[in-house]
Subunit: 396 residues, 2 copies
């Protein structure tokens, strides 16, 4: 199996020893408290899971600026985005050496982690602007990632953390949420050597199914990790339980037994396109995958990024040797009426628009809500049935 990023063994920051975890929970009650922003809490869950190996906690200003500018911390650790604990108001933890971090996403704001505070620093407006530009390639406040990044304050609370739970992810998605160390364990137990990861936050139609199959065949991997984002969704997105049911049904009906693991991770989308693709690769390496499928406009939003920027960044911005994981460069895939199968669009330069079976998301939703069957070339009937049931229940 591929080694984690930056160390020989994975060092998740969740406190796995029960007695130690219980003691820390008690200690937390007496510590100064900071209510985290949602992005900070998501970072803590990723650090706890081992996905952000080898980081030991939240970055300071120099690390964050280094990662934004050169994809490197001050100590030279490759990391494509800052992993920070940002706050607008730090008066409650002034002078504190050790604090309890409260979870903004769970009722009652329980303690999510304990942090040793190494520094509390403030970013200047220029620094925020610079980071925004570097990470998102735009400063447009309409960009959802830019808006989120600039809405959480300018104070950066840095230092190592000990994570005490996995926020709402473990309880809400018990069958799907998995830490990086669980996935590594499971890969070893299944006796797999090489695995290709597929990132998703949507149900999977035939185009995605075949893309996974193509990648597995081309790369000759033992397995496919379908790895879904379980963070909060935009309005109109398919709820995670419906998406999960669609994906599991597809895997059960159309993949060879014991070739796919259906799992999820607890993080919010950054919509940072190219930079996020690199982050996606990094944390797939940490969960034991040798390859990540990166398609057209991976992790993008609107028209901020070129269709293949999330692929070219691996040659243009990622120094050779920074990551061991390789990407599998994909284009959109779709059913070709000429060839009667799903192929990658870039492999058929002779095709015109009418040669493909393609449906917009809007069209798909309208058809399903109206009880119209989707073409089998577009969606497996079992998957379409689950989605139809969902959309029809929404109509009532």
């Amino acid at each position: 199996m591929i080694k984690p990023h930056g160390s020989d063994t994975l060092n998740p920051l969740f406190v796995r020893d029960d007695a130690k975890r219980a003691a820390l929970k008690k200690e937390a009650a007496g510590l100064p408290k900071l209510l985290m922003c949602s992005a900070g809490a998501a970072n803590a869950v990723m650090l706890g899971s081992g996905y952000f190996n080898p980081l030991t906690g939240f970055m300071n200003k120099a690390d964050a600026l280094g990662c934004a500018k050169n994809l490197k911390t001050a100590a030279g650790v490759f990391f494509p985005v800052p992993v920070v604990n940002m706050a607008a108001d730090v008066s409650a933890i002034k002078g504190a050496k050790r604090i309890a971090l409260l979870d903004p996403n769970v009722e009652g704001n329980p303690v999510l982690a304990i942090q040793d505070v190494v520094a509390i620093e403030e970013f200047t407006a220029d620094e925020m602007k610079l980071m925004t530009q570097k990470i998102f390639r735009t400063e447009d406040p309409e960009h959802p990632g830019v808006a989120a990044f600039n809405s959480v304050g300018k104070f950066c609370v840095s230092g190592p953390i000990q994570v005490l739970n996995f926020s709402y992810f473990a309880a809400e998605f018990p069958d799907t949420f998995r830490t990086a160390y669980q996935i590594r364990d499971e890969i070893a137990i299944r006796g797999w050597e090489t695995v290709v990861a597929f990132q998703t936050r949507n149900p999977m139609h035939r185009a995605h199914e075949e893309l996974c199959r193509m990648a597995k065949q081309d790369l000759k991997t033992d397995g496919i990790l379908i790895h879904m984002l379980l963070g909060k969704l935009k309005k109109g997105d398919i709820p995670a339980d419906v998406r999960d049911a669609c994906i599991r049904k597809m895997v059960e009906a159309y993949f060879e037994p014991n070739t796919v693991m259906v799992t999820g991770y607890g993080f919010d989308m950054l919509y940072a396109g190219p930079r996020e693709a690199v982050l996606h690769a990094l944390f797939r390496q940490n969960c034991g995958c040798a390859y990540l499928i990166v398609g057209r406009d991976h992790a993008g939003v609107g028209s901020y990024y070129g269709p293949f920027d999330a692929q070219t960044i691996f040659n243009e911005e990622v120094p050779a040797g920074s990551l061991d994981i390789k990407i599998y460069e994909a284009d959109h895939t779709a059913w070709s009426k000429k060839l009667n199968k799903v192929i990658m669009m870039k492999d058929a330069p002779d095709h015109t628009k009418d040669d493909w079976v393609m449906l917009s998301g809007t069209k798909v939703r309208a058809m399903l809500a109206a009880g119209e069957a989707l073409p089998e070339e577009f969606s497996r009937p079992e998957v379409a049935a689950i989605l139809m049931k969902y959309y029809q229940s929404q109509e009532g």
Copy 2:
């Protein structure tokens, strides 16, 4: 979470380090080889999984006799049955210090584990007889456990092992097979403290469903571990995939979200009744459960054991302090027509046979094969539907 049996942390014998495991696989190719018996291979899988903590390998003669007679190894480790690597013919490993153990249950007999041979000893006929009597409380060769125990030779190959895979269990039951260390991880990740385990090798009807619910309520646990045996089945038993589908459907439809984990372990039934109940408790402690439900004739077969022998053994043969796990003593449960709910039969001494909704296994099979619905008091309709489909497919 409850501590493992015999040590502060769990020490599974599966080699979790990839590089080390790969090196051992290479080494195994050049080692003298022993084709294991099925029971020995099942022991290796349980040792690899951490279920048989704190054992470090296969017992020698003194340990095996000690466990049979007094439930203790020579060094004083509590263990209710011998965990041995028995062979009829040891000529191929004569004089060897280190051997490769071949898996009898996977095509091509791949290497399952590497063993450092400390001793090769032979049991006398009297010793085999004594062990049989102590473990099974009978020497009747018609008893399936007794027959299996006495069919695998009299040579005992003892010494520590390093386990390299999980036989056919991981590949055949990827969604259900779980090691003890995986279950401990999952309990911690879910934030559960106390868990009650339910042992099964059958689909679960309403009686079992309600029994789990009663135990959880009475014991105030955070969760229920449904833990199914995935070893080889007797003719006429429900195949594991059908059983698994029934159980998952029941959990999904009738239990609160995030209160049940559906998992399995790789072992063959011993049918050793009381002694096996103690083993069942021991390995549930190792996977983090504070309680095990022990019902009427637990792990029994035919009429070799009294209906509650598997409960009384915990007072009669298990010295106080040997295990931390406690048992939840259950009787049969069934739907009471008088009370209109499932209750434990011992709690209704006023009930006569006609007051219960009960069906024999034979009757259930006949009804399902004929397409007759089972009473809802007996079986959830979703579960009955899956079983009906299975039995009707068998008829064709």
